[in-house]
Symmetry: C2
């Protein structure tokens, strides 16, 4: 296993995306200039590159143990070496970094959290799901909890002493949360919660003394469906340290992220406290959706990166066949390193050129999220919010799927070795596969994009995105050096316009047309966004002589040559709409 | 788990492809008309659908046990229920069906073997690798073995009493067999074999008393490289039943096909007999390549099919969200079956429409292989051989990759459930992943297509393919009912011509251009071949009123709408050639 955190590329991105002036524009981030951020990230990197990467494979084999008859009820045992690892994560400053100083956090921008996050995920995706989901719980409490709850829970969650979970899904509902049945009945100064939740990541474990569950449930008088759901805080342990009856009923056996316990959680008169207003639980949920979905996309980026590094390492060392070019043949060996072969390079460059653009898009979007939340200027906040809102489903969906495919392509570089458990590629592919599913399946993301984000504020979100891209095009039209990139971006924007127009016209008449084309449309806008990122990188690197910049131009040129042809394909697929999809009778399938 | 053999679609394909007149044109296949073939296949289907599908999941969990200190040396233990299953496979007539009656085979066309094969693979891919690879060994002995070897080994291999293996790979060489180091030293009436082979499927097991290994090795005076390799038959047990020292040194731990033992095989003065001529071992290997590679493509088809059936079953029963069309909402339920949702249908139809066309292409090509081998007319044999030769790398590569992606898409239909081991989708995806790698990686297939098959006989292979397709276009140009299909096929042929021309011109000047574009070119021709299959299906079903025919037209129309846009994409990718691929210095990756 090989992994080196891509710090140089992080720094490149911060410079390219104008991070320093971004940080200066927000009062509370003034101290977090590029240098500071990179030095924090380097600390996190060091620890993860060493211990965490090794633990990842080990834990995948050993898994998590469910103990039915624990002292106080069912228990979940993580591998022994997870405990000191978790302590190191706390000490590395990973958990609290981007949380408010008021509750003991580091006060850093979310954007810095994204850099740390990529390293953590790449090092051990399953393990970091615990701290990752805890951030979601923290955010919901921060935004919607009352002072008492905040004061009691946030400091210990932000320090990492306690972990948090999100309890949404029930057996009869994953996508369709309106079908939730768990109940919350008011008592004197708390609620009594009953029901079953499934697929709760880190729902039970032995890494922290207490676990703070955020649970969606219905009040007795709640209206049916999605408008009758409230959010509750249900701790594993109550103030007197007694066990609150929210117990793990079993673990799922899964394809990947095997060392992340996926729990069935049973509530049997468990005590809880409401977060936010009655029947407004979904609002609180959506508050943290942008962050959480962006981080799922980031899982695709992180796993692409580590898969790539391992494929590259193999390609540099494995010798098979001769280069087709005589001069490139190593005369003192019987075969050449496979990195000389065009088809091997093709696989590597497909991964590299997409990974780097996806990374840029994630970092850029995380800066927009910071702007949306903290910038003093209303209009800046609004535009940034628009950008983040439209990019969230795109990043979640496109980066997770491309991440999975990139892991598969990286595995392919190793040939038969990639299929064995001696190498980590097969695990990376298994682990990242979940990213296409959780936090809203990729299909749901496409519907969110086409059904909600496109129509919000009379189409303002997409218009703002197009305006930003168009402005970039206009500013750089005359730069001959990067004309390949600008032309590609122009073509991309055009395809988006044509497809959007088609969707508007045909989706209005017949919503099934829009829903049938949603996934292809998402991919089209995603590819346009990546093209935008490459165009910005090309502009930034143009005329600079350092090797990093020359490599960027080559990598970006490859991307344009090989991925721009996909734009028209997606656009045509969009415009074939529902085709015969809805004519098929169920028994014809 | 759900699986019903697609007998109706088999029958459809035989009729559509003119199977009966094909069978009549070859003397020895006269008795195997469609009805006979289907009744044999139904027998095989029955047994597999019942027991084999169940054993598949079970064996995936239990795996294979390596016993280092067996009675006579290291042993490999398969699950107990594999033995009676294997007996049932023998009794079902699966193994000998397509082998010559002279040695106890059924004398059926290879095409029938392909139908049986799809069922076997879908039911238990890992298990059927044993009988599958045995066919390769049988074929090599049939074609190149002397009378003594044939008489001694073929009857028991064809009856299934003994199994055979193919021992090619060594630690230093998978793709590059020229690097083989194993040696064969002549003794009185045998050869002494020494060396290590790896990744030998079913190299050791307890299903048959004897295992007949076909081993590539070097004679003492052999020239270096690929021209110094000979083929040897090395039985596990010698005539006196004593153990020949070819022992299993360990098993690989793999992502999938877990119940197929992947063995390290050590030869320590093992006795062997040469098959064919000295230093002509690779020729004997290539003889069975077409069959074996076609069967790997078939694995993609078979796994697509069973994955699809399981996804469909879930989609018909899982209720989430409401149909966007009021009339389609079931008023007596709180949510609708997810098969009403366009995006779920999209995933299902992507799988269905590609699987059916790939199946047709496999069956059609297997008929061409039969023609090439047995037809009395020289020119028919030649044309058929050309078709099979060019289609082999295409089927192997495209169908395996699409099969993997189809399994992943089918898993996606199940959402979170698909990621758990309660459902079989995750296993299907893991199992089929190897098909992109073995029997020559997909990258190697692309090089075979572009580097060998395109240039063979001055380009005759592709010309013959184009001629056949063009003739079909000409014959059906005026049929308004299927004009969508004919137009699509015309467009496809045009893209192939443009891309081929580009490859010829630019690959001649600079081979790295051709090698960089080989994979995209393969996909382009593959898609054209599938379009050809859909056009033939459309023609066959046009004007027929039975439900099966109406469904075919809908499914084919969907394919044309959604996959034809990929043609131009592949063509453009081909024409961007090596882009910046070869400019990248190794340290820039």
């Amino acid at each position: 296993m090989v992994y080196k955190s891509p710090i140089a590329d992080f720094k490149y991105n911060l410079d390219m995306l104008g991070y320093n002036s971004f940080a200066e524009s927000i009062d509370q981030f003034k101290d977090f200039d590029t240098e500071t951020v990179i030095s924090v990230v380097e600390q996190v990197a060091k620890f993860n590159e060493q211990e965490m990467v090794d633990s990842n494979k080990k834990a995948d084999r050993e898994g998590i143990v469910y103990i039915k008859d624990g002292k106080e009820g069912p228990e979940v045992k993580t591998p022994d070496y997870f405990k000191p690892l978790y302590q190191s994560v706390i000490e590395s400053g990973y958990i609290g970094a981007s949380n408010p100083t008021e509750y003991g956090g580091g006060g850093a921008p979310f954007a810095m959290g994204i850099l740390n996050g990529e390293i953590g995920i790449a090092s051990n995706m399953a393990f970091y799901m615990g701290p990752g989901l805890s951030q979601g719980a923290i955010k919901a409490i921060l935004k919607k909890g009352n002072k008492e709850l905040k004061d009691k829970y946030l400091p210990k969650m932000i320090s990492g002493e306690w972990m948090g979970t999100m309890c949404l899904t029930e057996p009869q509902c994953g996508t369709d949360l309106g079908l939730i049945r768990s109940t919350a009945t008011p008592e004197e100064d708390y609620y009594k919660l009953n029901g079953q939740k499934i697929w709760i990541s880190f729902g039970e474990h032995d890494l922290t003394e207490n676990i703070i569950h955020l649970v969606l449930a219905r009040l007795p008088d709640a209206p049916e469906g999605i408008k009758g759901i409230s959010l509750f805080l249900v701790p594993k342990r109550l103030d007197d340290n007694s066990r609150n009856p929210i117990f793990c009923g079993g673990l799922e056996h899964k394809l990947g992220i095997i060392s992340s316990p996926t729990c069935v959680m049973n509530m049997d008169d468990a005590r809880g406290w409401m977060i936010g207003e009655p029947n407004k639980g979904m609002e609180a949920m959506f508050l943290m959706m942008n962050d959480a979905r962006l981080k799922v996309g980031l899982q695709g980026v992180a796993m692409s990166e580590i898969a790539y590094q391992n494929a590259l390492d193999f390609a540099k060392n494995r010798r098979q066949m001769r280069s087709v070019v005589k001069d490139k043949q190593e005369s003192d060996a019987k075969a050449d390193n496979i990195i000389v072969h065009p088809d091997v390079r093709r696989m590597l460059m497909n991964v590299k050129s997409t990974t780097e653009a996806m990374r840029s898009l994630c970092i850029y979007t995380s800066m927009k999220i910071d702007l949306a939340e903290h910038h003093p200027d209303d209009s800046v906040r609004e535009t940034a919010e628009d950008f983040a809102a439209i990019m969230t489903p795109i990043i979640k969906s496109y980066c997770s799927e491309k991440g999975f495919l990139n892991c598969s392509d990286s595995l392919q570089v190793l040939g038969g070795s990639g299929f064995t458990k001696e190498y980590p590629l097969e695990q990376y592919m298994r682990d990242v596969r979940i990213a296409l599913i959780y936090e809203g399946t990729n299909g749901i993301q496409a519907l969110d994009l086409v059904g909600r984000k496109l129509t919000m504020h009379k189409g303002r979100l997409l218009q703002n995105f197009q305006k930003e891209v168009q402005q970039f095009i206009n500013e750089n039209k005359d730069n001959e050096n990067i004309s390949t990139f600008i032309k590609a971006l122009e073509a991309a924007v055009k395809e988006v316009m044509v497809s959007t127009m088609w969707l508007m016209q045909n989706g209005m008449q017949d919503p099934e047309n829009a829903l049938s084309s949603a996934s292809d449309y998402l991919n089209l806008v995603a590819l346009t966004s990546l093209t935008y990122m490459w165009a910005r990188m090309a502009k930034f690197s143009d005329g600079k002589n350092e090797p990093q910049h020359k490599t960027k131009i080559k990598t970006g040129t490859y991307f344009i040559d090989k991925f721009i042809p996909e734009l028209q394909m997606y656009s045509k697929k969009v415009q074939s709409g529902k085709s015969t999809l809805m004519e098929m009778e169920v028994e014809e399938f």
